[in-house]
């Protein structure tokens, strides 16, 4: 429940919108003109203001500007609701400092969804149609193409803290923790981010590597684990030539000896990111779910978070997904990718992975646009968390072994990855 201030000189609309918001549990105060609204905003400090543009006296734009000028109300998120619904009106509203723009007529669902999204996103973000969110540029004219996630609609129960693991030995018998819990208890979540795409060519590995480097830039110790069973490319992208891979564990079943785990990791010196490589050729087998979880558990003792690059849904990846605190689903904007992503989300749901853990990343791997983001969101029935713009310098970055997030941190691509990094660790 949030306290919302509604400013409109149309009494009928005031009552209608108030009713819509109170029905979903918000507490609504109303003001009949801009001057009264400014006073109330300063006095009552609401969590959101909904303002009509066309009011006698102060217009809605004037009210938003004055709210932003007053230190007491500068951080108040604002939704503009108006019958003037042309693109230039939206631009004007956002330039004045509003966080979202709604045109009349608006349905109760559209209104409450947008209100909730703006409250969650805060004053520093704009929320667009489809609940796509972007940070407000600091300077006029500096518009970022980065789309950021709207946090999940309802507060999720905090995941249980990771079960203390006896790390001194590093060799907890596989399944020991599971046996100590009831059979139905969900796996303990670890600080692992699994980046997955079941369709090739969506840039899954690129996103995973750049995400790892963006996280490493936050002074974190990061390890990237390449779970590909069909020949991993993480070392290639980083110009590494590892001598070992997780294939070394294959012969050890569910209980790999993790004594030598440190020795299996390759080190990317410029960023400090450790790499557990996949076998360079398609592997003879794959890690079991328990073994993969065991390896990840061990890695998270040193690295936080561990980024796992997954391009299939084998037992190892299933094991990783179950313990991951966040799952990044990477897709491109072509119809087969949309279809594959839709099916993957259904499979993740069937695996009882909460949707709140999942972030969908739309990666534009081509300069042309195919399926619009709005249509993708409708097809997937969930928002795109981050929209990664097309980056023509990507092939060069791969050839040079210098991911763009390091080479060109100010590029729109790198900014979108940094946004993703903030999301997965938040």
């Amino acid at each position: 429940m949030s306290r919302i201030l509604l400013i409109d000189d149309d009494i009928n609309l005031l009552q209608m919108v108030k009713l819509m918001l109170e029905r979903v549990g918000h507490q609504v105060e109303t003001a009949k003109d801009g001057t009264k609204g400014l006073e109330m905003a300063a006095q009552t400090q609401p969590e959101l203001a909904i303002i009509d543009v066309m009011m006698s006296g102060l217009s809605g734009y004037d009210v938003v500007r004055k709210l932003r000028e007053d230190p007491r109300t500068a951080s108040l998120p604002v939704v503009i609701l108006t019958a003037r619904s042309q693109p230039m009106d939206k631009e004007m509203a956002l330039e004045a400092g509003a966080n979202a723009f709604l045109s009349k007529p608006v349905t109760a669902q559209e209104l409450t969804e947008r209100v909730d999204a703006v409250i969650r996103a805060g004053v520093h973000y704009r929320v667009h149609t489809g609940l796509l969110t972007e940070p407000i540029p600091r300077r006029a004219g500096e518009i970022s193409g980065v789309l950021t996630p709207v946090p999940p609609p309802l507060p999720r129960p905090t995941p249980p803290p990771p079960t203390p693991i006896v790390r001194s030995t590093g060799r907890v018998p596989i399944g020991a923790e599971d046996q100590a819990q009831p059979a139905t208890a969900p796996p303990v979540q670890l600080p692992v981010t699994t980046v997955i795409s079941l369709r090739g060519g969506t840039g899954c590995t690129t996103i995973a590597i750049n995400l790892a480097l963006a996280l490493a830039a936050q002074a974190r110790r990061i390890c990237i684990t390449d779970l590909s069973a069909v020949g991993g490319h993480v070392p290639l992208y980083l110009h590494l030539k590892p001598q070992h891979s997780w294939q070394d564990f294959l012969s050890q079943g569910d209980s790999p000896d993790l004594h030598a785990l440190g020795g299996l990791l390759a080190q990317h010196e410029p960023s400090g990111v450790a790499v557990l490589a996949a076998p360079p050729r398609p592997a003879d087998g794959t890690l079991s779910a328990a073994a993969a979880q065991h390896v990840l558990r061990e890695l998270t003792a040193t690295y936080n978070p561990v980024v796992a690059d997954a391009r299939q849904l084998d037992p190892a990846v299933r094991g990783a997904l179950q313990v991951s605190s966040s799952v990044v689903v990477v897709m491109s904007d072509d119809p087969p990718s949309v279809q594959t992503t839709s099916q993957l989300l259904a499979m993740l749901s069937a695996m009882e992975i909460e949707m709140g853990r999942i972030r969908v990343v739309l990666n534009h791997v081509r300069p042309t646009f195919d399926v619009p983001a709005d249509a993708i969101q409708k097809a997937l029935k969930r928002p795109i968390s981050v929209d990664v713009p097309y980056e023509p310098g990507q092939p060069v970055a791969i050839r040079r072994g210098t991911p763009l997030v390091s080479a060109r941190p100010d590029s729109p691509f790198a900014q979108s990855i940094q946004q993703l990094a903030r999301t997965v660790v938040s």
């Binding site: 149309d10 009928n12 609309l13 209608m16 919108v17 819509m20 543009v53 066309m54 009011m55 006698s56 217009s59 734009y61 609701l81 019958a83 003037r84 619904s85 042309q86 693109p87 230039m88 009106d89 631009e91 004007m92 045109s103 009349k104 007529p105 608006v106 349905t107 109760a108 669902q109 209104l111």
Partner: protein
């Protein structure tokens, strides 16, 4: 049916464009659709409520607001409506129906280039309609109006009502 926060019940909101101004306002319907009110030859003016005025070349800036006002209908070049249904006359069958077909048109009118679809029964010739209908305003659906003098100023609507007496050029985009 889902509730909507809309303009007032019994009113329709529109953008009334003259050669120099963008006038946003609400018209009380009293059972008579806006198109029929505009085509009523007995009234020279149209009553508007909650009227807000902007210069056409600076269309997002509000320069005046009035609780009531009158717009001279023959000075209005186009009327932009967000919902296409708001552009229908009382006799809807004239411009809407199962058999109706869309005719893509370009109309240069009152300083705007209007593109969109005139929706008619196949038995009606669109060019003849535009040339000979006694009505002042005709609806163009799913339309956009680009201000010729400033092409970055674009108005979009489910329907744009075009004043025939201001038409400078009319052309079919597809035959």
């Amino acid at each position: 049916m889902q509730s909507q926060a809309s303009v007032r019940q019994g009113y329709v909101a529109g953008e009334f464009m003259t050669r120099t101004y963008r006038i946003s306002g609400e018209t009380e319907l009293r059972g008579v659709p806006l198109l029929d009110q505009l085509n009523d030859h007995n009234a020279l003016f149209l009553s508007l409520e909650r009227m807000f005025i902007s210069p056409l070349l600076d269309p997002a800036t509000l320069t005046g607001s009035f609780a009531h006002g009158e717009a001279r209908k023959d000075s209005v070049g186009i009327v932009v409506l967000s919902q296409w249904r708001d552009g229908l006359p009382q006799r809807e069958g004239r411009y809407a129906g199962r058999d109706h077909v869309d005719h893509e048109v370009l109309i240069v009118v009152a300083g705007f280039e209007v593109t969109g679809a005139i929706r008619l029964h196949p038995s009606v010739n669109v060019t003849n309609l535009v040339r000979t209908t006694p009505e002042h305003f005709i609806p163009v659906f799913d339309a956009r109006a680009t201000l010729t003098a400033r092409r970055n100023i674009v108005f979009k609507g489910g329907a744009i009502l075009v004043n025939r007496s201001h038409i400078e050029v009319f052309a079919m985009l597809k035959d």
